[in-house]
């Protein structure tokens, strides 16, 4: 049963987002201070105006003290949340609900991750004590299972799929090159992407998102209060989150060409937002391109492309910056890296810029000029067969 949602009851009135990258000079505390300060300025408020805080971080600190200590908050409620790669979005979702409930007037959702202090390649996630029976393969390997499955189901050759995945990486790097906050700010030619060293299965290093540090924050108020803070609030149309039953790894009918969790989160979000045809109604989407085949599958799971057609749409430019439905116009995880707790709010930040017409001209998307007013953000945490997924829809128009 779908959730009813809080369509148009709350709005974002200020946002901040740090540069993402190898921030050797900054700790999680610094990143939090930077993002929060920018968000306060953006909304024209102070930390004391905010009634409650939601902090998303996977491993850069525990408890609300991780935020209250660096910001020296004055005995405010701070809730630290974690939901794998949807952590930042989860902070946002819960902050929105708190405001919608009327319990508080203003909330901040803020996410942070300081990954580059670990000294390891790729993500390192601590696990509780276990019996040692789970195969310890890495995220690239888990997501690499999508590629041969997609090829087999839709009759796409490995060479054709390589071209598709390469184009997805190329597109996101192209977009990221136009974004001063991105970790990677250079275009990467397709030959370099296609010939990059193999990490797992068919995935080369350029099929994987980077590892970076970053933070992003949003200030949320009830919609009726929103114009007191900004002329261009961004209204929350839908907030959808699901944790799957994690049966895919044990179910022989699961075929690794879809994330049922993404399908369900998307359907629920479209229901909350009243969207019937996402491809023609959305101005843009920020999706969880942790690996290139993930983005391909998401096109189909979120209804941007028909089943088995996403690869053709990717090749024809449907999701390019100047395409029919731009996906990851800011460069995505591919160009930003993936500081877990920050990514969901970083996606919202791009929606905030684009819908308000504040994106730099070189990456301003044409769909906005054509009158589209809705943006989607999406996260996926876990791996094929057992994951969590988040979908939000936000828009520049208040309730009609």
């Amino acid at each position: 049963m779908a959730t009813k949602g809080i369509r148009d009851r709350v709005a974002i009135v200020g946002m901040g987002c740090t540069s993402f990258g190898e921030q050797w000079e900054k700790g999680a505390e610094d990143l939090l201070i930077d993002a929060a300060t920018d968000a306060f300025i953006s909304a024209g408020v102070t930390k004391d105006d905010v009634d409650a805080y939601w902090l998303g971080t996977m491993g850069s600190g525990i408890s609300g003290l991780t935020l209250s200590r660096p910001l020296r908050l004055d005995y405010k409620p701070v809730t630290r949340v974690e939901n794998m790669c949807a952590t930042g979005s989860e902070a946002f979702r819960n902050a929105c609900y708190a405001v919608a409930s009327g319990a508080i007037d203003m909330a901040m959702a803020i996410g942070v991750e300081k990954l580059k202090d670990s000294g390891f390649s790729g993500l390192v996630i601590a696990s509780p004590p276990s019996d040692g029976t789970a195969a310890q393969l890495t995220a690239p390997a888990l997501f690499s299972l999508l590629a041969p499955a997609y090829e087999k189901k839709y009759g796409v050759s490995p060479e054709e799929l390589k071209e598709v995945l390469t184009r997805i990486a190329w597109k996101n790097h192209h977009n990221g090159a136009l974004n001063p906050r991105a970790q990677f700010r250079r275009e990467v030619d397709k030959a370099t992407i296609a010939c990059s060293p193999i990490m797992a299965g068919q995935l080369g290093i350029f099929d994987c998102s980077g590892v970076s540090d970053g933070s992003a924050a949003a200030v949320i108020v009830r919609s009726e209060d929103a114009y007191r803070y900004t002329d261009k609030p961004i209204f929350v149309k839908a907030l959808s989150f699901v944790a799957g039953p994690a049966t895919g790894t044990a179910d022989p009918t699961y075929d690794y060409t879809t994330f049922p969790e993404v399908v369900r989160a998307g359907q629920n979000a479209y229901s909350e937002a009243g969207i019937e045809d996402p491809r023609s109604e959305l101005a843009m989407a920020e999706v969880h391109d942790c690996f290139t085949p993930t983005e391909l599958v998401i096109y189909e799971d979120l209804g941007f492309a028909e089943r088995g057609q996403g690869w053709k749409e990717a090749l024809s430019g449907t999701f390019d910056l100047d395409g029919e439905l731009p996906v990851n116009p800011d460069g995505g995880l591919k160009a930003f890296g993936h500081p877990i707790g920050a990514s969901g709010l970083r996606m919202l930040f791009e929606a905030w810029l684009q819908l308000r017409g504040e994106a730099p001209k070189e990456r301003a998307i044409g769909s906005i000029a054509q009158g589209r007013k809705l943006a989607l953000t999406h996260n996926l945490g876990g791996s094929p067969g057992e994951c969590v997924s988040f979908v939000s829809v936000v828009g520049s128009e208040p309730a009609s």
Binding site: S121, G132, M199, A200, P245
Partner: protein, 475 residues
């Protein structure tokens, strides 16, 4: 009622190091043939499990709940009994005891002697990995492998033990201090001088006790820790030349504690009903045993898998292991690991809670809808029934590769890690590591079987669990 072996099994690891490869790596002559090499994820405990599985698969039903005795010179743990892991991996009941009889090569003879004289069913698992310094004869001529024998008192034995003859004397020939990786050897002519008279005495004693003359012996097995003395005995003219059993050292090397068992199994694979066997083992004294192959041997052999024979296991090996890989697996050469954290060792309480899963590979099946759950769970993934599960051991159920990937970033002692999603015959899917596999020839649809392995060792804890390996046809 007779006392004897009712079932047996062996395990030879997949890998062979050709002796010329040692010679080429070290710039010296190293002879021909090859030695068997345990995989990077194997130890004497895991090999004992594999040999015992082969034995139990052909065991008569009443013998399958048995005492376990484990022998090796290279135990995975000290203080902690390794036989218990073997016991649990075999899915044996808690009422069955399990003990180590370890340390010296002759501990294997002790285990056989004990089992041969006990009352109830006893499973003897002999397993060894033999090591030597680079370029040494022990490195070149040692081998890795395991053999398991299930003893019982029944009218259905396939081999009857007629006698045990011994000769014991203290002299320093081969020794190793605790913690040392390789053995010290005295000058070899002295050992020969000591061993030959002991062997003569033990053999005469065994033959006399059994009431058998040397001319009646159909199969003469000589194994031991002293190569020169073993050779001298093998070529003594007392026994018919055709009776001398191939001691397998050219193909796999000397597998220490396991070796007399491996050669005996090889003989039993083809011995005629009624055949008499004299098995002699030289290891700090000499043990000589006379055995008689029973009339049941043909029926027993017909009941076994074709892949259970020593010849089949010799034939399905991969022979081109490099010397560098060998010494890397033996932790004598240290390669840079991936820039990833070392694996976290398993914690004791969850390992104990999940013991039937972790050690015996026991999953569950929903009694409400019939869906199989791997790993076992309390809530059915299909119908949602809670606590309507029955246990199902899947260690011996084959599976098919549904999809797979090669992980070049993951931490493993032997990169890259190969991981497959496998669908079991009869239902159920599981994602696990593949081992003994050539990643380049792996295909979706390949058939695999489960094997008990040491996934990692971290913080002095061995993490044992099951992996899948390709089902190989016999050569």
């Amino acid at each position: 009622m007779k006392r004897g072996i009712v079932a047996y099994g062996t395990y030879l690891p997949y890998w062979r190091l050709a002796r010329p490869a040692i010679g080429a790596a070290l710039g010296m002559p190293a002879g021909g043939g090859s030695r068997s090499v345990a995989g990077y994820d194997e130890d004497t405990t895991t090999m004992a499990v594999e040999a015992a599985r082969v034995a139990l698969a052909s065991a008569p039903q009443p013998s399958r709940s048995c005492e376990v005795v484990f022998s090796t010179t290279d135990p995975a743990y000290l203080d902690k009994a390794n036989a218990v892991a073997v016991h649990d991996a075999l899915g044996l009941p808690r009422s069955a005891p399990a003990f180590d009889m370890i340390g010296s090569v002759s501990s294997g003879s002790a285990a056989l002697r004990y089992a041969g004289r006990a009352d109830g069913p006893v499973l003897v698992a002999l397993s060894d990995m033999r090591n030597g310094m680079g370029g040494s004869s022990d490195e070149r001529d040692g081998g890795d492998g395991a053999a398991a024998f299930l003893f019982d008192s029944t009218s259905q034995v396939v081999v009857e033990f007629l006698s045990f003859g011994s000769a014991t004397s203290e002299f320093l020939d081969r020794w190793r201090l605790p913690g040392e990786a390789s053995s010290h050897l005295w000058e070899e002519r002295f050992g020969e001088h000591e061993y030959i008279p002991l062997a003569e005495q033990a053999m005469a004693d065994a033959l006399k006790q059994a009431g058998v003359t040397s001319a009646e012996i159909d199969h003469f097995i000589v194994t031991g820790v002293h190569t020169r003395a073993v050779r001298a005995l093998q070529h003594s003219s007392r026994f018919p030349a055709h009776a001398l059993a191939d001691d397998l050292t050219k193909a796999i090397g000397n597998t220490g504690t396991a070796h007399q068992g491996l050669v005996l199994a090889s003989v039993l694979d083809s011995a005629a009903p009624g055949a008499l066997v004299l098995a002699v083992s030289l290891a700090d004294g000499v043990e000589a045993t006379v055995l008689r192959v029973s009339e049941q041997i043909d029926d027993y052999r017909n009941s076994r898998s074709a892949r259970a024979t020593v010849a089949s296991q010799l034939g399905s090996a991969k022979g081109d292991l490099s010397y560098m890989t060998f010494i890397t697996w033996r932790e004598r050469f240290h390669r840079e690991p991936p820039r990833r954290p070392e694996p976290t060792p398993p914690a004791s309480p969850p390992s104990a809670r999940h013991d039937p899963w972790k050690f015996a590979f026991t999953a569950s099946r929903c009694t409400a809808c019939g869906t199989r759950l791997i790993p076992p769970g309390r809530v059915c993934i299909n119908c949602g029934a809670v606590d309507h599960m029955q246990s199902e051991r899947l260690a011996d159920v084959p599976a098919t590769v549904a999809t797979f990937t090669i992980d070049r970033l993951a931490f493993t002692p032997s990169p890259p890690m190969v991981v497959a999603v496998v669908d079991f015959d009869g239902g159920g899917r599981f994602r696990c590591e593949l081992t003994d596999v050539d990643p380049d020839s792996l295909c979706i649809g390949d058939r695999v079987e489960m094997t008990f392995r040491k996934v990692s060792t971290s913080q002095a804890i061995h993490n044992y669990f099951w992996k899948a390996k390709p089902i190989r046809k016999e050569a």
